[in-house]
Symmetry: C2
Subunit: 754 residues, 2 copies
């Protein structure tokens, strides 16, 4: 736990330079515009410990797999978002004395991320040989113009001085997580056209047959002497100022990639054109555009928590970072667990997207963005089928970690065994369908995915003749502190759900006809139904579900009996000790109860919650949100508050002591889910929008807006009552608790909280 | 399966050059003298595919761990025997035309390993520009002089020619298995003194605090012009010969290491002195010494199989390779799974030693050698205790793979979970004790190891209150095709054996007093007894032991229903598929039945054998021998023969298709065990020597000699009768089947085979 930034609803403000926590500060001040993004690295040189990181969406590199002991079926490479050519850089020197906050004497320092307007700024004062110099920087990745980064850099010396700026773009960068220490870029060329300098770089050749990417980075700064080195373009700008006068430099950068252009010429032309358009607009207009786009976003999706500024800051930060990472405009993209904020997890796609991000994307960015995420998996169905075949199964097994649909991860217990990811994808399709009611989309892009997932389940399960049950042996469930277990309740239960649901949808959706092309027939459907019916679910006593075969044989202890010095366990215990212990990394049985809460009574959920939560150490960032939701539902208000705080402020408070590596972007959606699906009790699984608020009283008044079937709906809760208001769209028949209401424009419905 | 060498009781003979199988031939023609050894690489240049390998016993290098995903508790390095400075090299050219069998036109080729005399020879004829040249090479690592390698190289051109020899020693070598492609050696210097050239090399500095090794390689060849490069010393020798005359070069090499000398000067002086002594003896005398030592060895331990030359060749090859690898003279050394024949497994110590090699070492090399192996573990007890502590347990957990007692391996399912290795070490101490009756050795070097192993078991087991049993959760048994299972029968049974046996010995051995220093008291002994009594052993029906919790839930199939194209499974199936299948890599329950066969009836062993063997794919080289022993015992003659052939000729027939990487040296002891402990039914576990022969009839007459408590005993079997003969030593009361006999010198006892 460490909190560097002051509590404030809209801002992250740091008022001293934390040289020893630079990586943490950099992570927290990451910014982006879904097209690209960067950590909060300083523009000027910083020679201290730091983790430079700039990332361009969809550009990745296949880094040769590093493995201790090769297993048959491992992928040959691990895809990574390469640290992209550095575009932030603006070297600065005053009378030849270089600015470098690791070495300069710093008289004052302030860094501020303005989430309301999407701006990152610093003000600092350094003591130099000639006196003090006050500096101000401000930058933003334009939310209005995906190609554009704008930076304004001001230096005000207290003495007559020559201020030298050296803005640059530079492809001589490396990934810290490069498996064999290699670099991922090769320079293709650099040059200048008038006041614009440009740099073309390409990802290196690879032996895996995956595509290479070329990126063009162009910048201008209103003149300056161009200079070049291999893979680097810079300009030297000198300003002579009197004491107290300000030297200002505006650097505009445009970035485009070969993902969108066929030829290098077209790529370069587009980049320079985008840069030209930004120049013509000018910094102030770009800044005004930025604020306007963010205003519209907040208006659409803000979550307001009135009495708890820490909680408010948490949800704002989470919404801000999600929007900086993904906007749903490009179905080739997905949401990496760290977004544009670090190298860890390689920027690839995980089940996080479907299980944790999709509900929020659907309700805030809208159907289009959510469908783009589903489309991503639909487009990768052939690779998922090839993956299943490679592992000796039918149907499709989606990869654990991927860019192109091909598996990247290489731990057998995860790559081969964490197969519940398939259920998350099925569930997401179903969730979007029940939310939107869009049968056409379901039939065209959903059912083929669902069919192949069901085929996988049937081939992966084995029939146990003595017990007359289908079993799923040798898996890792969501709780990764168990590996290679048999009959993980969550996996089996979700497989059963997939098979049952598919059989239901197959009766109902006319689009089922198209599945004939995929060879579906009545016999196979009957097989699905049989497997669903006879799926083995580990022992239940009083509704208590056993996490997997043998879990009840463990030495059962509550997590609060652990020595605090040994936590987090994953930093102190050897793996075998973690595995044989009862301690749970993240919701497992409870993840299933959350997904299928329309099928379980509050009593059963409560029984399982009270059994499993005390053994849960929440060492996955994906854990607290699910527990917050269920805790609220079963009336465990204190636990709900604790879990909400943990999910909403996970990074702001550096709860897991790893935010220095980057932000937990996908987990961030969890705080939205905790409020909307948990505290407000929003349900959509039966095809009807429903609210059943159960927020802890201590949470205080809160409100939010969602998009639902071409409507905007506002929910607000205060003093034991809540109000639903239709802001836009047609009247809606919906449920409040189990009571039917008709929601119309300008006729808010108010109801007591039960 | 591939057999390159002709069947012959005493020789491996290859009569054509197998360029495509060079690595396989090289492995099979490896030679060594326990101090050093080398693969069967050619002396002259060979530019084709080849795997050069020379190894010096006890010299190792800590190669930085390569791992995909770090787990807490992994070791920082993996120790490896580095490919040592090349000492075989003798470049040869005729009239300037270089000999290189990858390129020369080869008119004839013969390679022969003479196991009876310990010589490796080649005769080959190449067609050169001037005509043919007939070449003969012969070499041996001296069994009489550990420092010495002797090579004789003869070239007989069919034309007048100048033959140029370039013998050399060269430290510019690398390991193929270097984790990051680095080299492990740095040159310290090279020089010549008179007709002797020398090279000093040191293993590179490492950040892990492990010792570095310096080696001195000196050679002479009766003159020649010395030449040097960094890390290389050579001599140029020219001989002018008439057509049909022979140019001969004898290269004598001496090698010593800093393991035995304090200073580089002393090391060099010793090396040169050893070389000088060898020179004074001369090649022919050295060769005669070599034959004499091998004659004595064969006289002491030969196993004769009269009617099956393939089986005879197999056991000779296995005995030859074991003697080339280990002689028991240095308790700092152990037996690497590949000996001096390849890089795989890093030349380190595995449980193979105690479980598979020790019985043969004890009966053929004698008590001293076996005790040296036990002493190795005793000396490493502190590291094993530190390892247990690191993993959160009491007592000692011996490493899976080690040089110094520190763990090197980094797969959690093996490093942390394959804890049955501890039982093998306990069992070995007990085996040597029951064989030798040496209570003093047991008390001093055995019991401390046994005590700390028992402490580990007790702390590693967990109490299951509902079932009132101790359980051992999260382990990998000997069958590595199951990972992270609970209550592996073998592990639990052996833990129970350790605890019970310790309690028994503690009553009996006076040396128990010394354990007071280690804090042993009656309370702890009672705890051991309680844990032994209540140890959980998975379900038994009709004596059938369940391999682990849940094994009976698997889809059970015999291995012969597998598609042969999918075997070996580990080269075709993904790991999860292997894990969830019923297929067994190597004896697991049956390994326990083998170890504890004095405690199980033939009926129970038969029941388990018939259940598990059909599911066993024998993809570990350690598997067939145990099955051969049990098959013979339970009367499955056909299976016993099949398993014997597989263990005895594993490498000669390249059964597992991996002999190219090196020989399965530790498994080789299995064929001796199959004959002596299996077919002849030798038992010693009760403290009395017993034989109960049960050889398959088809195996025919066989005989062997063993050392037993300062006696030499000969066993021979022919035509349904077997004879025991005391060759040396005091009369012995022993058992034949269950009948007591007194064996005296010159009074052989003959008995019917039952």
């Amino acid at each position: 736990m460490k909190t560097l930034f002051a509590i404030d609803p809209w801002k992250l403000t740091e008022t001293e330079l934390h040289r020893d926590d630079m990586r943490l500060s950099e992570s927290l001040t990451s910014t982006g515009n879904a097209h690209m993004g960067a950590r909060g690295n300083f523009e000027e040189k910083y020679s201290g410990d730091s983790h430079p990181g700039t990332y361009f969406a969809g550009v990745w590199f296949p880094d040769k797999t590093r493995v201790g002991w090769w297993k048959n079926g491992y992928p040959e490479y691990f895809g990574k978002v390469p640290n992209a050519p550095a575009i932030l850089e603006i070297g600065a020197a005053v009378n030849g004395e270089e600015l470098d906050l690791a070495r300069n004497e710093v008289a004052a320092f302030r860094r501020e991320l303005d989430m309301e307007r999407g701006l990152l700024a610093r003000q600092f004062t350094v003591r130099l040989a000639g006196g003090e110099a006050r500096c101000e920087t401000e930058r933003f990745f334009s939310a209005a113009r995906p190609e554009i980064l704008a930076i304004r850099y001001r230096v005000t010396p207290s003495f007559d001085a020559e201020v030298a700026f050296t803005p640059a773009v530079d492809a001589n960068v490396r990934n810290e997580d490069s498996n064999y220490g290699g670099s991922f870029w090769q320079p293709l060329g650099e040059g200048a056209e008038g006041e614009r300098s440009w740099l073309l770089s390409q990802t290196k050749e690879n032996p895996f047959g995956t595509p290479r990417f070329t990126v063009c980075c162009a910048f201008s700064c209103g003149g300056g002497e161009p200079g070049f080195a291999q893979g680097r373009a810079q300009r030297a700008v000198k300003r002579t100022v009197r004491a107290g006068e300000t030297a200002e430099l505006v650097k505009l950068v445009a970035v485009a990639t070969s993902r969108d252009f066929e030829t290098d010429d077209a790529l370069k032309a587009h980049t320079l054109a985008a840069l030209g358009a930004a120049e013509r607009a000018g910094y102030d207009a770009l800044r005004a555009e930025q604020a306007a786009v963010w205003r519209e976003r907040w208006d659409r999706m803000d979550v307001v928590i009135e009495k708890d500024p820490a909680a408010q800051q948490g949800i704002h930060f989470n919404l801000f970072q999600l929007l900086s990472t993904y906007d749903g405009s490009d179905p080739r993209l997905n949401i990496g667990p760290k977004g544009f904020t670090g190298e860890k997890y390689g920027g690839a796609t995980y089940w996080d997207t479907e299980m944790f991000c999709l509900p929020m994307v659907l309700s805030t960015l809208g159907e289009g963005a959510a469908k783009a995420l589903l489309r991503y998996r639909y487009d990768q169905l052939p690779q998922a089928m090839a993956n299943a075949e490679k592992l000796g199964c039918a149907g499709a097994l989606y990869p654990m970690v991927t860019f192109t649909g091909d598996e990247c991860h290489n731990e057998w217990e995860i790559t081969f065994e964490e197969i519940h990811r398939n259920a998350a994808i099925f569930y997401a399709v179903w969730y979007v369908y029940t939310y939107t009611g869009d049968k056409e989309y379901l039939a065209q892009y959903g059912m083929p995915v669902m069919l192949e997932i069901c085929r996988y389940w049937v081939s992966r399960a084995s029939w146990q003749p003595r017990k007359r049950k289908y079993m799923i042996l040798g898996v890792t469930g969501p709780n990764e502190y168990e590996n290679n277990v048999s009959n993980n309740w969550y996996t089996n239960r979700m497989a059963k759900f997939c098979l049952e649901t598919f059989c239901e949808l197959a009766q109902d959706v006319t689009g089922i006809l198209c599945l004939k092309e995929r060879g579906l027939d009545g016999r196979e459907l009957a097989q699905f139904a049989r497997a669903a019916k006879h799926m083995y679910l580990p022992q239940e006593r009083d509704g208590l579900c056993e996490q997997q075969d043998g879990f009840f044989d463990k030495e059962l202890r509550a997590a609060d009996t652990l020595d605090p010095a040994e936590r987090p366990l994953n930093q102190h215990w050897s793996w075998d000790r973690i595995l044989r212990s009862c301690f749970i990394k993240q919701a497992d049985v409870l993840q299933g109860m959350y997904c299928l809460r329309h099928l379980y009574s509050d009593e059963v959920i409560r029984r399982n919650f009270l059994y499993y939560e005390p053994m849960t150490v929440h060492e996955s960032s994906l854990s607290p949100c699910v527990h917050a939701i269920l805790a609220a539902q079963v009336g465990e208000s204190g636990k709900a508050m604790e879990m909400y705080a943990r999910t909403a402020r996970l990074d702001l408070d550096n709860v897991n002591n790893d935010t220095c590596d980057g932000l937990h972007v996908t987990s961030m959606c969890g705080s939205w889910m905790a409020i909307v699906k948990g505290f407000a009790g929003m349900r959509t699984e039966t095809g009807v929008l429903a609210f059943a608020p159960c927020a802890p009283e201590a949470f205080g008044p809160f409100s939010f807006r969602i998009l639902y079937q071409e409507r905007r709906i506002q929910f607000s809760l205060r003093d034991g009552r809540f109000t639903l208001e239709l802001l836009d769209g047609a009247p809606l028949l919906m449920l409040v608790y189990n009571e039917c209401i008709l929601l119309r424009r300008e006729e808010p419905v108010t109801h007591e909280v039960k």
